[in-house]
Amino acid sequence: MKKNEVPQDREDIYEDKFGEGLLKYAVEESGDYTTVQSVGWEPEATALKQALEEVDYKVAKAAEEVRNGTRSPVFYFMEKKLMDPGILAGYMGLWKWQVKRHFRPDVFKKLREKTLKKYAQVFCIDMKELTEFK
């Protein structure tokens, strides 16, 4: 990549939080390497947006599954907070299989208040959002 080829594509998803830009390595006319700040690159942003769309898709699907009674709110909030069963189990101090069991609406209904409280805390939500899913 030559110095003058370093892309400068401004994209909304960077929220202007990278200031002058992130560092890329590029070749100067003399042939030496140098660093250039880049405010962004469109292909990179495309991949990032794709990953975010996937999250939205999974969250919407999870909400539907909670409403039609095939999954519990625990599953929904796990997706919403970008977690997976392994990460969630880590925060809960439970085994992965236990967390997965809590995805079942019938098991979820029987959860103790203490467990529910812990879930709410991990998801940073009110307990009501868990027990009275919209």
């Binding site: 929220e15 992130l22 560092l23 590029a26 390497y33 660093t35 990179e44 991949a47």
Partner: protein
């Protein structure tokens, strides 16, 4: 504390550059990357991260740090903790002694990053330079400016769960070498180790031959995965290659910069030529990323698209395999 914040492309190499600079050893990021044998390739088809196979263009987290500091003769102290409170206390104590502290953390809890970047990625590295009230002064090596973060957020970031688990890990330079490091020797050893790691793994998906292996996998995506998953797997490649602070082209430009600098220092034209070759390979990776992004954007998961992408990747793979064989034969 008297310090410069030096912006870098990558977090791990950046932390090393900043820490060494604080202790009056000025080395470039590519030099650290080369000495620390950072360049790599690995594709793990059976380990899925966020639902797609894992790919990486660099050596495992922490590998560059331990290797580079060892070859340069800097003694590093690294600690993990059982209790969050203790991990914060120890951090405060070190700062009170005017010692800059490297901290392993999750990007999910760093409020100064764009939301789009805040996935549960736990192997990020930052430097804590100081504390003012309840706020810490953070040098995130990939960012142009210093940031501030409050105690709660920092604690959460240091105690993120998942894989890997930081468990409050912190590290700092305990002792610098009494003599100037033997840079030519460190460069030689860095390259030799890279040759070993990248060429001689007995498994087909570890090292640069893994690029061809991945190409073979991509060819089969249309029959193996849904279109949605196929495109996600391709998108993940670009993210690993470009977005996570690689300096462009999956660290290939950074490595080319290292070879350039090494060539000059050792007065070796062959290394200089290898640098130009690596730059060309990096450029090809960029074209690859560009083409993959077009496919994602057009949602064109057609079979022949995957074939085209796979062919391009195979071309890069052949070049890298040859490159690292050639690099291994250079005498210096």
């Amino acid at each position: 504390m008297n310090f410069n914040h030096i912006q870098s492309a990558h977090c791990e190499t950046g932390v090393i550059v900043n820490m060494l600079d604080f202790h009056n050893m000025q080395l470039s990021e590519p030099m650290i990357f080369g000495i620390g044998s950072g360049i790599f390739f690995i594709h793990l088809p059976f380990i899925e991260v966020n639902g797609v196979p894992a790919t990486n263009y660099r050596i495992w987290p922490g590998g560059i740090f331990s290797r580079a500091t060892k070859l340069l003769g800097a003694k590093v102290k690294s600690k993990k903790f059982r209790s969050p409170e203790k991990s914060m206390e120890t951090l405060d104590d070190l700062l009170a002694w005017n010692i800059p502290v490297g901290v392993m953390c999750s990007v999910y809890y760093l409020p100064y990053l764009p939301d789009a970047y805040r996935f549960h990625f736990n192997a990020h590295n930052i430097i804590i330079w100081g504390k003012e009230g309840d706020e810490y002064i953070v040098g995130d090596p990939v960012l142009p400016d210093l940031k501030r973060i409050n105690k709660d957020d920092l604690q959460k970031a240091r105690w993120a769960k998942g894989f890997p688990e930081p468990s409050g890990k912190l590290y700092y330079i305990e002792k610098m070498p009494s003599h100037n490091p033997d840079l030519p020797e460190a460069i030689r050893r860095g390259i030799r180790r890279t040759m070993f790691l990248i060429n001689s793994a007995p498994l087909p998906f570890i090292g640069v031959k893994g690029i061809n292996y991945l190409a073979g996998k991509i060819e089969k995506y249309p029959e193996k995965y849904s279109e949605r998953k196929s495109l996600l797997a391709l998108g993940n490649l670009i993210r690993m290659q470009e977005e996570i602070g690689t300096g462009g082209g999956g660290f290939r430009f950074m490595y080319a910069a290292f070879l350039k600098e090494a060539g000059k220092l050792l007065n070796n034209d062959q290394l200089n030529n290898m640098s130009s070759e690596m730059t060309e390979i990096g450029d090809q990776w960029r074209v690859f990323a560009y083409n993959v992004a077009r496919i994602i954007k057009d949602r064109a998961g057609k079979t022949d698209n995957f074939q085209t992408i796979a062919n391009q990747l195979r071309e890069i793979g052949e070049k890298e395999v040859n490159f690292f064989k050639k690099l291994g034969k250079i005498k210096f």
